[in-house]
């Protein structure tokens, strides 16, 4: 389980957010570009340092401004699927997926089987020895997911995992992704600017604008705009946001 309070002064605004995500639960951060969504992921993974706050994952404190605790990213065991995937272009699919296991000094004969199982599960066994530069968008997305999941992360972060895909691949992978995230049973946080991604993949949704949460609730409440809670202020903000901002309703 993840509990975090993050405060970070950014160039144009201050990010201030409280998060709580249970095991097997998918939290979606929804917002337009520059709303601070990706920064939240970087703060949680340790790639950025919050100015204030704390991060507690499975009862272990990864960051505390008060106690001066900062666990570096390589020791947090957090899986991160980057936007555009960030697959190592000088490595094969196998080497990409096994990278995290090699860093944990797991012997090759032990992780071979594990990698093969992931490749099979994700339907990409046939590209095992390919350079990642030769893969399609959908295949890259699966390799990135496998690379992040194989380390059995305590938390999985996904930054716009579907935007690099074409429309038809996106429809198919969206449902797959939901199943994989729920089955892998760690808390997951997915960043998107698509309402549809949020509705289908998420359990909980937080809408961000300029670093602040402007609406939060169940993903099912997003099914139609009219079912967004009766609070008129929130409703107004959400509708306006959806009508005029960069959130995609595809």
């Amino acid at each position: 389980m993840l509990n975090a309070t993050l405060i970070k002064k950014l160039r144009d605004f201050e990010l201030d957010i409280d998060l709580s995500v249970n095991d097997g639960e998918v939290m979606v951060l929804l917002g337009e570009n520059g709303s601070g969504k990706s920064t939240v992921l970087n703060l949680l993974s340790g790639l950025l340092v919050p100015d204030e706050g704390n991060i507690i994952l499975n009862n272990i404190e990864l960051f505390s401004s008060e106690k001066g605790i900062f666990v570096p990213p390589e020791e947090r065991n957090i899986g991160y699927v980057f936007q555009n995937y960030a697959l190592f272009p000088h490595m094969t699919v196998f080497d990409n997926i096994s990278f995290g296991l090699r860093m944990r000094r797991i012997p090759k004969n032990q992780f071979n089987e594990e990698v093969d199982r992931f490749l099979e599960d994700l339907g990409i066994a046939h590209v095992k020895c390919e350079r990642v530069t030769n893969l399609s968008g959908g295949q890259r997305q699966r390799v990135a997911l496998a690379r992040a999941l194989i380390i059995r992360p305590h938390l999985l972060l996904l930054d716009e995992p579907l935007t690099a895909l074409d429309q038809s691949a996106r429809e198919k992978i969206r449902l797959e992704l939901r199943t994989q995230l729920v089955n892998s049973n760690q808390p997951s946080i997915l960043v998107t600017h698509s309402l549809k991604d949020a509705r289908i993949i998420g359990d909980k949704v937080m809408m961000l604008e300029k670093g602040k949460v402007i609406w939060s609730g169940k993903a099912s409440d997003l099914k139609s705009l009219s079912t967004i809670p009766d609070d008129s202020a929130v409703n107004f903000v959400s509708e306006e946001y959806i009508s005029f901002s960069g959130i995609a309703i595809d």
């Binding site: 980057f82 000088h90 860093m103």
Partner: protein, 260 residues
């Protein structure tokens, strides 16, 4: 009519330019027979100069890579106060006349120099030794490598390093397993450029190391030293250097083609 004249003038300028840069080199090739070339190359002094050049340039390149890589990475990745100033200082030897570089090294490492004086007290002499040749090469060729390496590191997208960190790699392992392989082509080009500059070093070397056959006489110094006594040997050495330069240029072209 006017157009024809313009084309003729244009073509003439092109031909003159190409001839100007290639004719001197061809004239060297035409001046020596293959037999004389082989005989000259086998001459012990010529041979020593070739070996000394290769060894000192290899040593200088190794030192340059060890010293230059960290600062190239620092300048590519981190903003810090005074970075522009540091970069300008490091670029200085590229534009500095080699004789000035030589004199500066002589003043620093000479027997009464800032460091040379101290070393002299504990019985170490640098000036006019093979090590002085290496020092001169490091001084003039290092900045070329540092510049190239900095560009190579700057072109590596940080997201790959971030991905490696989240997968469990510490900063050093990330540097070795991800950053260096991704910057590899640029780094190798930098190494080759540095090596080439080191092999060709003349001005600073002759001032700080002298022209002692077998000890400090590298190929460019031997060409200069033998020019009056044994022109054939000078020409043979020049041809070896031209061949090396061609090979280096071809390698860099292949590498830059691959990286683009």
């Amino acid at each position: 009519m006017k157009t024809t004249i313009a084309i003729i003038i244009f073509a003439l300028i092109i031909i003159i330019t190409i001839l100007f840069f290639t004719l001197p080199l061809f004239s060297l090739l035409l001046r020596i027979s293959p037999e004389d070339f082989i005989a000259a190359i086998l001459d012990p002094d010529v041979n020593n100069a070739i070996m000394l050049s290769l060894i000192t340039a290899a040593m200088a390149t190794t030192i340059i890579v060890l010293l230059g890589t960290p600062i190239a990475y620092l300048n590519a990745r981190y903003e810090y106060r005074g970075r522009n100033f540091v970069e300008t200082l490091l670029d200085l030897p590229i534009v500095l006349p080699p004789s000035v570089a030589g004199l500066a090294l002589l003043v620093l490492f000479g027997r009464r120099g800032l460091i040379g004086g101290f070393l002299n007290d504990i019985g170490i002499t640098i000036i006019f030794t093979t090590f002085a040749v290496v020092l001169a090469q490091v001084f003039v060729a290092g900045p070329l490598y540092i510049r190239q390496a900095k560009t190579a590191f700057a072109m590596v997208d940080r997201v790959y390093e971030n991905a490696a960190r989240t997968l469990g790699a510490g900063p050093f392992v990330t540097f070795v397993k991800v950053t260096i392989p991704l910057a590899w082509t640029g780094l190798v080009s930098g190494v080759i450029l540095g090596f080439a500059r080191g092999i060709g070093e003349f001005g600073a070397t002759i001032m700080v190391a002298g022209n002692l056959p077998g000890k400090t006489q590298t190929m460019p110094l031997a060409i200069y030293g033998m020019m009056q006594s044994d022109l054939t040997a000078s020409i043979a050495l020049s041809i070896v250097l031209i061949a090396m330069s061609c090979i280096i240029l071809i390698i860099i072209r292949i590498l830059s083609g691959r990286s683009s």
